[in-house]
């Protein structure tokens, strides 16, 4: 069992943070890498990119939004409980170096994944501007943490309750117009990454995105996580999860993410029935 040592509820309890004891993974993990978690004997394998790693405490932190049966089960785990299985670190780490000016764009729980990458970019000597987007100010996460590792943080909300009233792409375009940007890192919902990439393509700014397709093993064995990058098939688990944002077939990725919509709904319904 992989014990939970800290649990926090964010964004009105819709997003959960778990700090988990996993010393071997913590020792090796680098920004951008993910783990696969299994909640119990009948659980499925769920990949999540790590939001934080504490090598001294031997822990890793995941932050997830409650969206389906598995994350609902995850959310029932309290401090002292644990996951049956956690395996990792998986995937290639983020390529971090001094690029010059880097804009880090995070949406939803993507901001949690973006945080260690942002810190890495900052520590490598980059000028870092971060843009965080969410529906309303109540769903904003990691604002303080991002501020600590960025030269500047800009907020966008869909309803204007904080920061810019609008999308992260509008904020990003303003920056791209005003100054030279050497790299954009965008992590969040697929449509956000798609529109950020379309925009940066216009400005010819290199863009890196982190993909989270459906996968089973996370080691290249099933091919379920295959994504089309520049017309070629790649496995997100071993070739990624980060890719050149300008090369990703986002529509294909969206389609594949919806492959089990019917089954997922059925699974959740059965869970509710059992509870009732």
């Amino acid at each position: 069992m992989y014990k939970i040592v800290k649990r926090e509820e964010l964004a009105h309890g819709t997003i959960i943070l778990n700090e988990i004891e996993a010393p071997q993974i913590a020792k090796k993990a680098k920004p951008g890498q993910f783990v696969i978690l299994v909640v119990n004997e009948t659980g499925e394998r769920i990949p999540l990119t790590m939001a934080e790693v504490d090598k001294e405490r031997g822990t890793i932190t995941i932050i997830y939004m409650i969206v389906g049966k598995s994350t609902k089960l995850f959310s029932t785990l309290q401090v002292g409980d644990g996951y049956k299985d956690v395996v990792g670190p998986l995937g290639e780490p983020t390529h971090i170096e001094n690029f010059g000016t880097v804009v880090c764009v995070g949406g939803g729980t993507g901001t949690a994944v973006l945080h260690p990458i942002t810190r890495g970019m900052h520590e490598a000597g980059n000028k870092v501007i971060s843009i965080i987007g969410s529906r309303t100010k109540d769903y904003l996460i990691m604002e303080e943490q991002m501020a600590k590792v960025s030269d500047e943080v800009r907020i966008c909300t869909d309803d204007g309750s904080k920061g810019r009233h609008g999308f992260v792409t509008e904020e990003l375009e303003e920056i791209l117009k005003a100054q030279k940007v050497d790299l954009v890192v965008a992590i969040g919902p697929v449509p956000m990454m798609k529109f950020v990439s379309l925009l940066t393509k216009k400005y010819d700014t290199p863009t890196m995105v982190s993909l989270n397709p459906i996968m089973i093993d996370g080691t290249g064995m099933c091919g379920g996580c295959r994504v089309t990058i520049g017309g070629k098939t790649k496995f997100a688990c071993v070739d990624g999860p980060e890719f050149d944002g300008h090369q990703v077939d986002y529509d294909g990725l969206m389609r594949r993410l919806q492959a089990y919509t019917v089954e997922e709904q059925h699974s959740e319904d059965c869970m509710f029935e059992k509870e009732a």
């Binding site: 394998r45 064995m221 091919g223």
Partner: protein, 481 residues
């Protein structure tokens, strides 16, 4: 057929008259609806009569035909004499996995192919595989414990990477020789391909679990959730963890794709993914188990090897109305065992030979609806005597909502690319000495599919046996690196 006298009382001449004892099987139309095992197993009397068909050759070809050299005439005669404890111990001397091998070994190209009884026209070889399965199942059901003596501790530590057939064999052998063995497995459960690849109806998973328990009883430690190459690398195992030797048996896990248009459509799977969902993750029991699988009404399987048959028969059991094997060569050229094709055929799987896929076709929502194929003909035999399929230009459209690609697997580079001084061949397989399993990296051995490419359970076990002997000799200072 019943006999008036017991097998053990028969004369040699009488024994030769015994017809082949057929393996009882579940009826095809009942078994194709659930995942329970197809073969039901011999009764004691079946087993005795079948074993009595062995003519006890002085220089038995079958033993040479077995990659791990089981004393076949020896254990068969013990079955005839109802000395079942003796028989299972005789088998255990050479294999740690008899219940598995009895079921999944291609005996028809190994021990049974060279069996003298079967060489005569119109005669069938002794059912060695069936008898191995019988004796192993008897031992399991009767909780017979391997009373093999474990050698005194040598104080040497060995890491085995991968818990498939090669790793299990190495671990068992070395534990018996007194070494401290730890197996590292990437998945959350041990067993490798026996667990994720081979379906329940061909190899019940409680058998694999039992074999793993036997291994633990020998003192082997099993650590799951460890991806060597990511969680820990080979050099760390040696330098930091203090292992004196490392055996790599990670298999050939990377699925090959066809690289044709539409392969990313929903409904197109690698056999690895489809079978892993169904077997390891138990998606056949969804939603009691959380992992889903697309059931598919009309299923096309691309490829015609054993894995293709496993996929086809899994699809039948998951409720598909129609399952078709699509293969660009002929039935005779299929790499599958005859018994697998036969079983698939019985269960209602259809076959379309000399048909090659060109493009997957999807609907507006990105779901698979069919495959454009091209008809092939067999050309003149090439230098190797094998006829190549030649495209005719004639197209055929196959309706399907699920397609499973089963055209083989390649070496997974995850471990090899993070390990220094480990030489690979042009296909990415580890270069290992054929006799000893030694790699180009000191203190590191390898065996099974990661060295052979895609092969069989028993070949992996044979290589595991050779590596275990070499590791033992090396650690005892009897063999130089």
């Amino acid at each position: 057929m019943t006999f008036e006298i017991e097998a053990k009382e028969m004369t040699k001449k009488e024994r030769r008259q015994i017809p082949k004892q057929q393996m009882p099987e579940q009826d095809a139309h009942i078994r194709n609806k659930d995942f329970s095992e197809v073969t039901l197993g011999y009764s004691l009397r079946d087993a005795q009569y079948e074993a009595a068909r062995c003519i006890q050759c002085k220089d038995p070809a079958c033993v040479k035909g077995c990659p791990v050299g089981i004393d076949i005439p020896g254990f068969l005669e013990m079955i005839v004499n109802e000395d079942r404890a003796g028989a299972i111990h005789r088998v255990w001397e050479s294999t740690a996995l008899p219940a598995v091998c009895g079921r999944v070994c291609p005996q028809e190209i190994q021990c049974e192919e060279v069996c003298v009884v079967g060489l005569k026209k119109g005669k069938e070889p002794v059912g060695i595989g069936n008898l191995e399965m019988y004796i192993a199942d008897w031992a399991r059901k009767n909780e017979v414990v391997n009373d093999i003596k474990i050698a005194p501790s040598t104080g040497k530590k060995i890491a085995v990477v991968g818990s498939g057939p090669a790793g299990i064999t190495v671990a068992g052998d070395l534990a018996i020789k007194g070494h401290e063995v730890t197996i590292y497995e990437a998945f959350h459960k041990a067993g490798g391909v026996l667990l994720y690849g081979i379906p329940e109806f061909r190899l019940a998973k409680d058998i694999v679990d039992y074999e793993i328990e036997q291994l633990k009883a020998l003192g082997v430690k099993i650590v799951c959730n460890t991806v060597v190459g990511r969680t820990v690398d080979v050099d760390e195992l040696i330098e930091e963890y203090g292992y004196n030797a490392v055996f790599i048996g990670v298999g050939a896990g990377l699925p090959n794709f066809l690289n044709i248009k539409g392969e990313d459509l929903n409904g197109v799977f690698s056999a690895n993914e489809y079978l892993t969902r169904a077997n390891l993750m138990k998606a056949f029991d969804f939603p009691n188990y959380d992992t889903p699988i697309i059931p598919g009404k009309n299923v096309a399987i691309l490829g015609a090897g054993n894995v293709a048959m496993d996929s086809a028969r899994t699809a039948v059991r998951l409720g598909a109305k129609k399952v078709t094997i699509v293969y660009r060569r002929t039935r005779e050229q299929s790499p599958s065992r005859d018994i697998e094709i036969h079983h698939a055929d019985e269960e209602g799987v259809e076959f379309k030979f000399l048909t090659s896929p060109l493009e997957f076709i999807g609907d507006a929502s990105g779901k698979l609806v069919g495959i454009n194929c091209e008809k092939m003909v067999l050309g003149e035999p090439d230098e190797g005597g094998r006829s190549r399929p030649i495209a005719t230009g004639e197209h055929e459209y196959i309706d399907c909502d699920l397609a499973i690609i089963a055209i083989g697997t390649s070496a997974n580079p995850l471990l090899t690319k993070t390990t220094k001084n480990l030489e690979l061949n042009q296909w990415g397989n580890i270069e290992a000495d054929k006799k000893t399993g030694k790699t180009t990296k000191k203190g590191v051995w390898a065996g099974g599919d990661i060295t052979l490419g895609q092969a069989t359970v028993i070949l992996a076990m044979g290589m595991g046996r050779d590596s275990a002997n070499s590791i033992d000799a090396y650690l005892k200072g009897e063999e130089e690196w």
